[in-house]
Symmetry: C2
Subunit: 338 residues, 2 copies
């Protein structure tokens, strides 16, 4: 089996070179040259075997692509451009080197597609499940980072894509029901919202943003708490997703229940924990049309689903009948119930 | 047991605030403001239970202090000032929250003592051994980072402190011999060489640097390879360390062997793998006196132990008799023999 340094060399050799990397992998640290007039945006996200993927069940390419998405999504939620990544990994000594390289090439490729390169890393042996942790650095024009904290009552509440897909896929896998192939493809290689976020930031009008990494309801609650606001989500405006509908039908059929129950199953996906790597945005209504144009130009599906309200911390689903129900779902908590 | 977000809040609440942190922990990412005219230095190092520490045997404060040292040492080896850290951790759900906080406060304090603050992190549950990974960002005057690659034949070869202590401590623990208390203290809270490195960089004359994180012989070989040089280490100039000598005597006595064998045991520490977090430096001989003055002013023990040679890749121990022996020890390899 290859040793630590040989493994690192093999991984590094396949990586694309980076911009403004003065010293790349192979020294005590990497040296980078940030652009003048820009702030640095930094985030870290880890994937653990048995939590974020299952040995034998999740393809290496999907592990890598989703790990990259988890980090890219955080950078997108700050309106920043991804630049440089560091990778820290732990795995048992007998871990298949080709499999590790496949995961690492998958995340390096997904990062490279958005303009980021791997500039360093660390590999440790562990007696337990394998894990990868990425720290991603990005750049944003000075003082222009989005945060979770700027939403105001009256702002348009919007989401990119179709949150709930990750939960729908997981529900199928857990139940042993075959997920629709298009859903599998969408979940295994989540689209990046980096370019859309940059386009929206350039258009102006986004007052707050958060990425959907724990579940729509939980992440909206984070934005509301940080902004000191509430939100009304209009159920009728929730974007219809054929992939989630198909998953709900597959689950209902697998369970031998009626087509009618599929509707309830589908609605459950919105409230369930799930890492969709989509963005929840609060938008100044005066800028909404410009934001829609920017999203269209960036080929990013963007849906207005409600309004920010002044009722601090209260996130509510509003039915067509006008009935108001507290938005369920606390989001994913790694240590819940422990 | 506290949940993920509660745990994160508890950890963050105890942290000192940071300089030029525009958005701190609690958003999708942190936002930092790098100084104009500086390059960014970035490194990542992880500690894994059962590899870098042993449950019940290593105090939480030592785990945290050594993890901080591993990262600080990389930044020191680039002549940079540590600024901002991100923390990624994985642990079983039933992990004692107070123990995790003790580890995290220990590394946060050690980082704070050198001017760095924790600006973000991620906490994941895992079914396996606990791990922490830190990514540390530092700043160095543009174009002034030390690397492993600049050593030239004729340069003075120097080390800070007394490499071998980590190996000596580990040898005692493995053999079940009681390590000298002062050795335990030195290994459990390694001194930082950040301030010394900054002072030496200001003095000028360091041509290459590497930190001792795998073992003296292995890390010197990395520097030699990167610089395309060799090194003669004069055995007689190796700094005498009372703590390693005491450890060797304890081991010899524990094994019931003679005092004479203690000498051989002690010499073995230099070649053994070990993470001492000291610096190996190549220094322009014309600047040596100024470097010594700077080290003294920074209260950093610095020892000239030999010369850089033009014999590419050949690192040799030179005895007083003139006998030349290839420097043993390949350094620690997490995946060796796998």
């Amino acid at each position: 089996m290859p040793g630590e340094f040989e493994r690192i060399r093999a991984i590094v050799a396949g990586l694309p070179p980076g911009e403004r990397v003065i010293v790349g992998p192979g020294d005590d640290a990497a040296v980078l040259r940030p652009r003048a007039g820009f702030d640095l945006v930094v985030t870290t996200d880890a994937f653990v075997e048995g939590r974020h993927w299952w040995a034998g069940a999740t393809p290496a390419a999907a592990i890598g692509a989703r790990l990259a998405a988890a980090n890219l999504s955080d950078v997108a939620a700050m309106a920043a451009e991804p630049r440089w990544a560091l990778v820290s990994a732990g795995a048992p000594r007998d871990t298949d080197a080709a499999w590790m390289q496949a995961v690492e090439h998958a995340f390096a490729s997904a990062l490279a597609a958005e303009g980021a390169c791997v500039v360093g890393g660390n590999l440790a042996s562990s007696s337990g499940p394998a894990w990868w942790s990425i720290t991603l650095l990005g750049e944003v024009e000075r003082g222009r980072a989005w945060t979770r904290a700027g939403a105001r009552a009256g702002d348009v509440l919007a989401v990119t894509g179709w949150p709930g897909r990750a939960a729908a896929f997981l529900a199928c896998e857990r139940a042993g029901a075959e997920p629709p192939p298009a859903l599998r493809a969408a979940v295994h290689a989540p689209p990046s919202r980096v370019r859309a976020a940059r386009a929206l930031a350039a258009a102006g009008g986004v007052t707050a943003a958060v990425d959907v990494s724990d579940g729509f309801a939980g992440d909206l609650a984070h934005l509301a708490a940080a902004s000191g606001v509430g939100a009304d989500v209009e159920s009728a405006r929730w974007p219809a997703d054929p992939l989630q509908a198909a998953a709900a039908r597959a689950l209902a059929s697998h369970a031998g229940t009626s087509e009618r129950s599929a509707g309830a199953i589908e609605r459950g996906f919105r409230a369930a924990p799930g890492d969709d790597y989509e963005l929840i945005l609060a938008v100044d209504p005066a800028r909404w049309d410009a934001i829609v144009d920017a999203a269209n130009a960036a080929a990013c599906p963007l849906h207005a689903i409600g309004r920010i309200t002044g009722v601090r911390g209260e996130c509510v689903a509003v039915a067509e009948s006008g009935a108001r129900t507290p938005l369920g779902g606390a989001g994913w908590d790694h240590f819940a119930g422990a």
